[in-house]
Amino acid sequence: MSRPRRLRAAEPRQGVAAIEVEGSRWRESCRRELGDGARFCGAYASGDRLARRWSALFADGPSTRVLTTRVDRDQLPTIVDLVAAAQWDEREAHDLHGLRFEGHEPLRALVDHTVDTAAWTTPVEGRGVHQVAVGPVHAGVIESGHFRFHVVGERILHLDTRLFYKHRGLERAAEGRELPDGLRFAQRACGACAVTNAVAYAQACESVLGLLPTRELRRARTLLLELERLYNHLNDIGAACAGIGFASGNMAFAALKERAMRLNKELAGHRFLFGSAEVGASRLVLASQLAGRTRGQLRELRQDAAQVWREVRFSGSVQARLGGVGVLDRDSAARLGAVGPAARASGLEQDTRSDSPGLWYGSSFAAAGPEARTGDVSARLQVRASELESTFEVLDDLLSAPIAADIASPSGPKAPIGVARVESPRGETVCVLEHDLFRLRRLHLRTGSYANWPALAEASARNLLPDFPLINKSFELCYACVDR
């Protein structure tokens, strides 16, 4: 068994630093963080109308710095000109918490759907420019999302997305709950990333409770996370095949995904792995016999997946559709804060699994990359295919020894604020929790899908309208993740 990488932190946990900032020095402080090479990874409002606070998160290796400022009269300076990735966070805070950001002009509505179309779309003018509106009700089984394309002929000039159709108030509903109870709210934010959300919450919670994950806990969580990545990646590659009408590839990957999900059910009792992670404990038990059998099944799955991928990849009619479509260049990816396979396909070597001392990734773990970092549909699929390999590798490694149930050790220091970053199949998910004694005061979940939606809009521009479903599926972002 290989040892986890970067044991710089004394304990197996990502570091957190909470920094209080004066309102007048807000922009300056954020600029300094970014200048030091930290990466923006979310912002959220907390407190009530009388004492509103605004926090921004900056990731630096395995540690996160949380900059917080008090907000006077619901107004504060924007940082969107410093970091474009903060755009959605600020727009959401405006719609949900009434914050106003000086300098963020125009501050278009994001969550608020009462406004007229002009208030949330970008004006695009020119000869022959017209709008094509798609959704929120679609012809297939797709979640609710409205896409407004500004097109000339078949060419997309600009895409405005309107999501947040089924806002559930999960974060608000979790407030006031006892800390371990909040996990159920975070987990149900999204079906396809249930483990990531639950593990992120559990880690954040453990850091404020002073719990340290043990070896078994870390191994169990890593196993669950990789099982989740496995069925998601199989699904997402299949979905891209459906996007180009390549039914045989779609069906073959659907069959592989079904095998992975049945394995989930056998190992953790649930096809989507719901209820498999909890705060401060792990109930996953894999005796050596079951672990060995699972290992064998995964090896077969690996061979079959590799074969199907080869067949899809070297099919001429498929190749003709993938290259050069939906390009997200490296600069745009970095500017918009893209994460996960989408970011890696564009050449950003960023994978939170390398910075997860609370999990069980070996020191040799490295972010996957496509053969050519072209940032197109082809590269995004290739990243997923090569990540499947590393996922099988990690799973094989974990299953080489039995896994026992365990509880966390209560010997760690208590962090003032709980922050955890976990790599979901779609990219980094950030979970923040603030608490009063043992009750949740604020839960904030920013998933990989949330971070990537603006990147999808950017990648779609300049492409053909009928190629959009393919580009969309190459990101395969989740709508429920924003409807939290």
Partner: protein, 306 residues
């Protein structure tokens, strides 16, 4: 004989046509490792839709209301033109190939006009793509017909079928080119991959399905039957003109049956093995077909000179 041919035309075109897309769907499902629907599924769909009430989007005019009837009527007439077993009963309509081209175009126009009438984005997108591709596809159809008309010295479909009877015609390179070109017509008119994808639920990629999105109930039943009948028309035409057939009426009927079955398998295979092509490449594919037909034409002309 002629009465039997007439019966097969009407019975086949009206009643057996939905079996063709149904069979292709069913075959495709098997090839893709699924159980899939029964070949009779289109009949169930038609029965379900026929029992439903109509719905008119507002504001629409008579153009929208009439389009399904116009399409069904033109398709119905076209069925009566297509010879079976080399015989064309006539029905007082004749069997001129150019009339067939015109009827197909009229049906396409009716549906495009209805899309315009609804103003729906998806319907208009589908219709505009259909018309854009039809520019190349109709040229291709006419060229293929010209190639078949040259040996027959007539644009009558029965005469063309008779000229293609036997194995002698297959020594003419021009006929091979015509058969290849007509294969693309089959793919285009049946709305199948790699040009269109009949199974998709992705509105943005639709061509033939797009204009159908606004329709419901009996209108949709008529449109779906028309789509199925178009399968019958082009597949039977392909078998009658461009697939090998021999002998008299009876033998030719057997050849027709085998030819249509073969084409269904071919379409199912193509849809399984091929992804849909990028939309802007489809005109190039059809133009390639035109080029092939031109080569065929040159070969006939050269042959005629020698």
């Amino acid at each position: 004989m002629s009465a039997l041919a007439a019966a097969i035309q009407v019975l086949g075109g009206l009643a057996l046509a939905p079996l063709l897309p149904g069979t292709i769907q069913s075959l495709k499902a098997r090839m893709q490792g699924r159980r899939g629907p029964s070949p009779l599924q289109p009949y169930r769909e038609l029965r379900r839709l026929w029992g439903k009430s109509l719905a008119d989007p507002q504001p629409t005019t008579i153009v929208y209301r009439l389009a399904p009837c116009v399409l069904a009527a033109t398709t119905g007439l076209a069925i009566l033109l297509v010879p079976v077993g080399g015989l064309s009963p006539g029905w007082g309509l004749g069997d001129d190939a150019l009339v067939l081209v015109g009827l197909l175009a009229l049906g396409r126009f009716a549906l495009a006009a209805a899309s315009w009438d609804t103003g729906s984005g998806f319907a208009l997108m589908g219709a505009s793509r259909d018309l854009t591709l039809a520019v190349a596809a109709e040229a291709l159809l006419v060229l293929a017909i010209v190639l078949a008309a040259i040996p027959a010295d007539s644009t009558g479909l029965a005469a063309m079928s008779a000229a293609a009877n036997g194995s002698g015609i297959w020594s003419e390179p021009g006929h091979w080119c015509a058969a290849g070109a007509f294969g693309l017509i089959v793919v285009f008119e049946t709305g199948r991959q790699p040009i269109d994808n009949p199974d998709t639920h992705l509105e943005l990629t639709m061509i033939h399905e797009g204009p159908l999105l606004e329709y419901a109930g009996r209108d949709l039943a008529l449109l779906q039957w028309s789509a199925a009948a178009r399968h019958w028309i082009v597949l039977v035409l392909a078998a009658e003109l461009f697939l090998p057939h021999w002998g008299g009426f009876g033998a030719q009927l057997v050849c027709l049956l085998a030819g249509v079955a073969l084409l269904c398998v071919g379409l199912a295979l193509t849809e399984t093995a091929q992804a849909k092509m990028r939309i802007l490449r489809a005109p190039a594919l059809l133009a390639g077909g035109c080029l092939l037909a031109m080569v065929g034409l040159a070969s006939w002309l050269a042959g005629g000179l020698v």
